[in-house]
């Protein structure tokens, strides 16, 4: 965990630097006795810089019990990326085909990823849930669901 924390504090330093750069780019407007729009961001920059330094120093000098948490395996990264890819594909497809047509496919894909193996389950649950959400959200509560450009 120590190495991971050092790595995280370096990322935080970089983020703080980038945020500070963005603050300097903010347009200014001088009104007497009024703090500018950049005041709070500067306060937060200083806070984050201080805290990142504390995390860095703590990780460097304070030996805690050895922990294996925080390691991300390649399998995990691949899992996250594939799940994200499915979600992004679902959202993109929804823009064109709408909620009702695409959601059963998305849910079936998610169920397969979650370890579902029964064919009946993979077919009927997605259709049932999609319709239930449609009725509940759209018909019952008047909450708009994504409508596609094509359908």
């Amino acid at each position: 965990m120590r190495r991971t924390n050092i790595f995280i504090s370096i990322i935080l330093f970089a983020f703080t630097g980038y945020y500070a750069y963005l603050i300097t780019e903010l347009p200014t407007r001088n009104i007497p006795h009024t703090l500018g729009a950049d005041f709070m961001p500067w306060v937060l920059t200083v806070c984050l810089l201080l805290l990142s330094s504390l995390l860095f120093l703590e990780s460097l000098f304070y030996k805690r019990e050895k922990q294996r948490v925080g390691r991300i395996s390649l399998k995990e990264v691949a899992g996250i990326l594939s799940l994200l890819a499915i979600i992004v594909a679902y959202i993109t497809a929804m823009i064109y085909f709408g909620y009702v047509f695409i959601t059963p496919l998305f849910m079936a894909a998610m169920m397969l990823m979650s370890g579902s193996k029964k064919l009946k389950e993979i077919i009927f649950f997605p259709i049932g849930i999609t319709l239930a959400v449609y009725i509940f959200f759209y018909r019952f509560f008047n909450v708009l669901l994504p409508g596609g450009k094509i359908f």
Binding site: L35, A37, Y90, M111, G115
Partner: protein, 494 residues
């Protein structure tokens, strides 16, 4: 009873509101009873439904979920020894032992009745105390409000369980996200990167959904599905005898008092309250040696405290606009979605709504009592819903819910961003609750600070010249330093 209170009661008893309460209770029982699903997650999943509802109806729905979720957590704790919510952990100690001895029905019955008692007790306290606090808080100006919000933010320290530094970093990053958007005083766009959608700031609902729900989906699907054991035995004899309940009265009063008191302290939370009440009940009991072996008092004390927390936590939320825990932070968000400003002005400008909240909580507690006892066998079955079905449903609700806010996929992108952030934060032991608090309280902090400095013409001593503000700042410092000192002392003692 005043006309306003009666009008509020009539409003809550309207059919759509009763249906909303019942739906909230059913959903809350399911969420509470399902290990791994939290009440906060249930709340964020239901929030998108509240956009189109009237404020009272949406609070009937959410408070039904809140009260039922607290009670539902005990079902899996008693039957499977897996607490459905962290607050049900203490119930598992004696509840599971009772279930092993074939007294599962009695344990669940005791838990439900104690929860009802705790809920009602805390509601009584809420009704009596809240208006007085709100009346006092009406004197607050910008410096007092700034100091109050600051006090709310110092709770961040109590959520940095493993590392206070990480808790604070999480809070500061949350505040940084809240600087995105059009600056209220100057009208200058900040960090919007040319996106019109960002001019109104980062929408907190997609952020909440992302932080709470997406890490759970990613963990469940990517890391693996957790298998929950099945409860096979029959459940019978749900209702304890009247004589047995009267014997538990003292324990329930103790639990409810501890729960309400702890709940009203921002940041203390349910788990502390239930273990404290369990401990106190054990100390004052004549049968203290039976605790841990399946004793009804060991179920009654934490369960009454559990639901006592719910009413207690609503006291600072409604009167001062300070959320005591993640659930009340989400409730605060629900108020904002409805265009209502939490805090003392709510009692003045929307008195009927405040009374409706009280009544909605009352009705929710009654519904929880009857619906849990009459449908317990259904919940035992639903406990077995496999995660391979549950997680995709949650994913769909997250995507649809975040879209529904402004009918744009931009918010879905924001939700995914916060979801990934939440996942990695959890992975690297950065608590997400401080970020949630910062997202909710951040804008008010900046606004009141800048307003105060405009009033004082740039003189920061305004915050200590005002006595109430000074008191809040001192409490903030104590609240900030307390966990730090405690951690240092624990470290020195090894």
């Amino acid at each position: 009873m005043s006309d306003v209170a009666l009008a509020a009661l009539a409003d809550v008893l309207r059919l759509p509101n009763l249906i909303a309460s019942m739906m909230g209770v059913f959903f809350g029982l399911f969420i509470g009873a399902s290990p791994g699903l939290t009440i906060s997650l249930g709340m964020v999943l239901l929030l998108p439904l509240t956009f189109t509802l009237a404020p009272v109806t949406s609070f009937c729905l959410l408070l039904g979920l809140y009260a039922a979720g607290m009670t539902g957590g005990s079902i899996s704790a008693i039957l499977l020894n897996i607490p459905g919510t962290p607050s049900a952990s203490a119930t598992a100690v004696d509840g599971y032992e009772m279930a092993k001895k074939g007294r599962a029905g009695e344990a669940i019955g005791t838990a439900v009745i104690s929860s009802f008692f705790g809920g009602m007790f805390s509601l009584g306290c809420l009704v009596l105390i809240a208006p007085a606090i709100a009346k006092f808080a009406l004197r607050f100006g910008a410096p007092e409000l700034f100091a109050l919000v600051l006090l709310g933010l110092t709770l961040i320290c109590s959520f940095g369980q493993r590392s206070i530094i990480k808790g604070l970093i999480s809070g500061v990053i949350g505040l940084i996200f809240m600087t995105v958007g059009l600056d209220n005083l100057m009208g200058i766009p900040r960090f919007t990167f040319g996106y019109v959608e960002l001019q109104a700031g980062v929408s907190f609902l997609p952020a909440l959904i992302g932080l709470f729900a997406i890490p759970q989906i990613l963990e469940g699907i990517v890391i693996g599905v957790q298998v929950i054991p099945k409860y096979e035995a029959k459940i019978s004899g749900l209702l304890p005898r009247f004589k047995d309940i009267t014997k538990l009265f003292k324990t329930m009063v103790l639990g409810a008092s501890v729960g309400t008191g702890i709940g009203a302290i921002p940041g203390a939370g349910g788990p502390i309250a239930v273990f404290l009440s369990y401990d106190y009940a054990k100390r004052i009991s004549k049968n203290c040696s039976l605790f841990g072996t399946g004793h009804p008092e060991g179920v009654a004390a934490p369960e009454s405290a559990n639901n006592g927390v719910a009413g207690g936590a609503m006291i600072p939320m409604l009167t001062l606009g300070i959320p005591g825990d993640p659930i009340t932070a989400i409730l605060l968000g629900a108020l904002m979605i409805q265009g209502l400003t939490p805090g003392p002005l709510l009692f003045q400008a929307n008195a009927q709504f405040v009374y409706s909240v009280f009544w909605a909580f009352f009705v929710a507690n009654i519904m929880v009592l009857f619906l849990t006892l009459s449908t317990i066998k259904v919940w035992v079955r639903l406990l077995q819903v496999p995660k391979r079905i549950l997680l995709p449903i949650i994913a769909i609700l997250c995507i649809v819910g975040s879209y529904a806010l402004h009918n744009t996929f931009f918010d879905t992108g924001v939700m995914l961003f916060f979801g990934l952030l939440g996942y990695f934060m959890k992975k690297y032991e950065f608590p997400v609750v401080p970020m949630l608090l910062a997202i909710i309280l951040g804008p008010a902090l900046e606004e009141h600070m800048r307003m105060s400095l405009i009033i004082s013409q740039g003189d920061p001593s305004i915050f200590i010249k005002h006595p109430i503000s000074l008191v809040f700042i001192i409490i903030s410092l104590i609240s900030f330093m307390g966990p730090l000192v405690g951690r240092m002392r624990a470290h020195r003692e090894g």
